[in-house]
Symmetry: C5
Subunit: 307 residues, 5 copies
């Protein structure tokens, strides 16, 4: 029987067809956190985003695409997300063993601009052909190219949903419209979550927000309503509210590799604020596998309320 | 039997198929103002346009997408308009209870430019799948991007009409071609209404016009013909004339939240000038629900000539 | 039986299908000038191009789209040309009463640039659905955007011809490549007519040319061949020659409202130079209807050689 | 029986379908030079490119599109090439009398830029509908827009070949990448021929090359290999080598009108260098017809080796 | 029976259909290095990229497209790669004799820019029609145009794979994002290989990397992990690791013509580092054929471990 919490989450997605709900259910129902409504996802797009040596030299087995499938499986993640090439390289060996999220757009760091965008590097048909449960797509609210990205996402998400896939949006504020500090400001993080949800995302990934407030009009609104934002849990609560009052799944990224204590504290903040989980890349695959597995299990324990 | 006024309004739309006329009839025939030929519509795209906290922190239940369906229903509005995500989040719960307008394009305020545009964030197929009666689309006459927007609207409106949907155009002058004051100038407001009608809109939404006249050639025309523009009713009359001499439905937006007396005075001006109604967003959902309902009922009473 | 002159004109269009020839024949065979091979057409796109008050305040009944259908009918024009909205607003009432030309692109004056273009505001399918005989399209030779416009026209004209419609091109030199004076220069006017014909136009509309010669190389050619350009009739003759030696229909616009004597003199010049007729907008609809009808009848009389 | 030289030329086109070979055979087998493997083609796009008076005022009958069909026929040309309008205006009268080349792109001189392009002004379907044997397309190697042009040609040529048409490419180096002198430099002329052949052209048209060498690296290659380029015949030989060692048909344009002696000398140079023929426009149609016919016959005689 | 090494290589391509695997097997199974898992490929796109005289004047028979088919065949290469025109010119004569790679995009040197791109000059359908085993495509990571190129490749590669073709990517870092020295830096070469693999390439071609490290973050990673990069073999090893830990075929280009000793030394470095082979253009076809054949045989011997 389907647990109440799972039934509740699925009920929020009022316009989706049974195919998409089935894939969403697979994402919820997989791994150590199965059916808890919590998520830990392994994303590995850093080979494309930062280059292979910055990404994999700290733990050389990670050059091999099979490594990441195995890591996600052994750690009991809900899903594994990667660009086309990395999924193609393990698609047959690991077929049906873990839900896959095909990242449909990517950006490298050999060219940079103050108004970043991403190249579309795979299609919905690719995702279906590879047996994926979901597509992933990054948007950069704040960039002069953001409207073009929203339009790309709109088209791809519509196609994905028609064919029963889940849509996961990486909403990363960046570009000329924002200060560096503003990229993780609490108002901007909430805004980024709202935009992704309005664009039809099922699952939204944002960065853990800081206490900074970027926009003057938003500052007034926070102050007038006297909204607490001092702790990470406070701020996560606002991001979750921004995601349709908690009716969309919001997960948080881990950012650059850091020490374990800091990671666990961050996870507790996300959990206590009502966040749905984490997407942990570099902190996982840049550690030796045994360490990574130990760390991911502790993170899952925190989400399970055991730590 | 269909009332004369409704029959008259429908007769203006000489090129539309029965599907579109049926949906237009639904919009006219719904809510407290049913069959009066007057409209009060609830639009909630501010989460996308201004961000979630600026929009919903003043009245936190409004973070929840269901809140707005309920508000529109309880207030007896003719329709509820919102972007994709907000409609998807209530599509099943509120199916068939109130005519829906899917806003097909949107703009956020994390990036701004002197020649604004909007991203296309949903499709006509989305509108059909969600059971909407109409699509909504914003154009910015005066922007260097306006021609591209007209072309987008042309394509989407043609598709919408073919499938029996109504086309609602938000015509908001803005951009390099205009002074700030000119955005609401009486000549520009009339011009904005005319452009939307020429592009095939069934319903046009403009801002209440000011007494300012932006364009020198228009000023000459107003002065030569001795056209009165001192009162809001005078000016609304010119906007209605600009909308094919009253043969297209023109409604007016409410703008930023303000005190109630000012709102009611504005509504009387719109009514007395022959305007077809109002589209009231922030003034409605940023108040506690009971206050909002009271206010919306008084507005409807004004349109009914009871106040 | 089909008159010789009509048969001759139709014979010039060697590549067209019977559907297009039938619509061309309708244009030739309608109104006071029926079957003379002369044309007076009523165009009303000024609401879009210049705004509603500049266009219609001088004669307020003209705010109503039905007014122009009636004016064209009562005056005995060959056809009525307008943008989508204006035709949609009378399509049913006046169905089949007068050949219609749907203007497929338009430009407003709320934004201006030194390299103008026009937005595509309707489709060939719209024209068919509204029962039109022809599409109309404006090009701006001399603008940096002219090549993009030629390509748009190429696609739309091909589609229109395939479905049996006539193609009418407004060829209006404008943009960075030309001086202000050059926009109506005799060499440029001839060039504009030639371009439209090479692009496949059936009917070309240009402005009455001035004596100015814009391009140095053209000046040499005019001087070497000793071509007379002193009178309007002389110059019209050169424009007609430029339109495939008279094997394409060239008509002339009237420009801004002016006094009647000047209008009649211009019409005589066009007639004496072999021009095929006029397209009279503002000079017609900005006058009270009785005056406009009187004036249009005199213009037709001039084309009939009665004045 | 098919002559050996014709069989040889056709054998070079190893990837074409029988439809294209049949049309190529028609081009080879028509007119005074039929089956010699030599070509004289009449092109008349100057009305579009330079304007009607610069082009046709020197010989006014040339304003009439029929004139050029007749000139090409009476002179015994292999083919007649023109833009859409000029071909449409004679398509029925001259159907099947001479192979036609529809020029698919064109450029006017009312706007100029240092990185020129051409507008696409007709389609492959137009060419088929008009009974043409070939499409013509201009590229401007050296222009910042050249890559976009190559892509247009790639698409149109693929479509043309699929439907059995021949592809003729006007390869005219021009734009920011080149000095004025470099536009006809011998290295650039060879490079232009090579690019057209690599893009899949069956027939390439270039300008007669000068002794100038534009690119430093090319200069080294010419000097190291000690390649003679002093006479026009020497240089034509290098252009022919650049066209797949003579396995593609290369013809040469005549350029601006000039005196006859100069023309004949140029033709002899082209012939002696192994060129396949000439495309003669202004030098033909800007002369009175009898003179033009005399001149074209002498040119053909030179190609026949009789002068 | 299929050799173990071939079986192993094919096993890496987990998402490909049998058609693509069959063509990959043809590439592996052809020529002197058949079934060794090593490759020597002849590419001849320099006529397009550098011009005909710079490319072919050093060895004039190379002007003829047949020459290169013959050279590749006689030398026992695994495949011959060229642009559309060169393949069309020998497609029938050499049909089925050697695997062909159709280069789908090309760039000439008559125009240059700091952010280069390539024009798409052929289609997947062309490749199928010409009987090719693979498509070739160049990307320029580091260019402002790189994202557009990735998107082009994404579309073409998906189409190619659907129809059973192999995808070969020339990954050549270049453009505003990189210093001149950085174009062949070891970190950049590895990054270029990674990007191509993530985009779905089956075979990647890069330039032999230098010891330079371009990106500060990459430098830290190389130093921290203490990665040896002193010898070419060391560096090739890192590029191979960057290509999915050796699970994608990486081959290396030869660059400008140089003396034979230098060539052989480079080949040994590639071999010793685990590279899969070479793509040798100018060093092969700019020598007299007997010399070229001798050189290519020695190169193959090195790959076979005989020298």
């Amino acid at each position: 029987m389907i647990p109440d919490r799972v039934r509740q989450i699925l009920s929020w997605y009022e316009s989706d067809n049974p195919g998409t709900l089935a894939n969403l259910r697979r994402l919820i129902g997989t791994g150590t956190l199965a059916d808890t409504g919590k998520f830990v996802i392994l994303p590995v797009d850093q080979g494309f985003e930062h280059g292979p040596h910055r990404s994999f030299a700290p733990n050389p087995p990670a050059f091999n695409p099979h490594y990441h499938f195995e890591l996600a499986l052994e750690a009991g993640c809900n899903a594994y997300a990667a660009p086309l090439g990395f999924l193609e390289a393990g698609a047959r060996t690991f077929a049906g063993q873990i839900p896959l999220i095909l990242k449909l757009n990517n950006n490298d760091s050999l060219f940079s601009t103050k108004n970043p965008s991403q190249a579309i590097t795979a299609s919905v048909e690719h995702a279906l052909r590879l047996g994926c449960a979901a597509i992933g797509f990054t948007i950069y609210p704040g960039s002069a190219n953001s409207q073009a990205q929203y339009e790309q996402l709109n088209g791809l998400a519509e196609e994905a949903k028609r064919f029963g896939l889940v849509v996961v949006v990486w909403s990363y504020p960046r570009g000329e419209g924002l200060s560096k500090e503003g990229e993780t400001a609490i108002d901007v993080a909430g805004y980024a979550a709202q935009i992704a949800c309005q664009l039809g995302a099922h699952i939204v990934k944002v960065k853990p927000p800081s206490e900074h407030i970027e926009q003057a009009e938003a500052k007034k609104a926070f102050e007038k309503a006297n909204i607490p934002i001092r702790t990470l849990a406070d701020r996560v609560r606002q991001v979750v509210a921004s995601a349709f009052d908690g009716r969309r799944i919001v997960i948080f990224s881990g950012g650059p590799a850091k020490d374990e204590a800091a990671i666990y504290e961050e996870i507790r903040g996300i959990r206590d604020g009502g966040g749905f989980g984490s997407i942990i890349g570099r902190n996982a695959f840049q550690r030796p596998k045994t360490e990574a597995l130990k760390m991911l299990r502790r993170i899952m324990n925190i989400y399970l309320g055991k730590e």
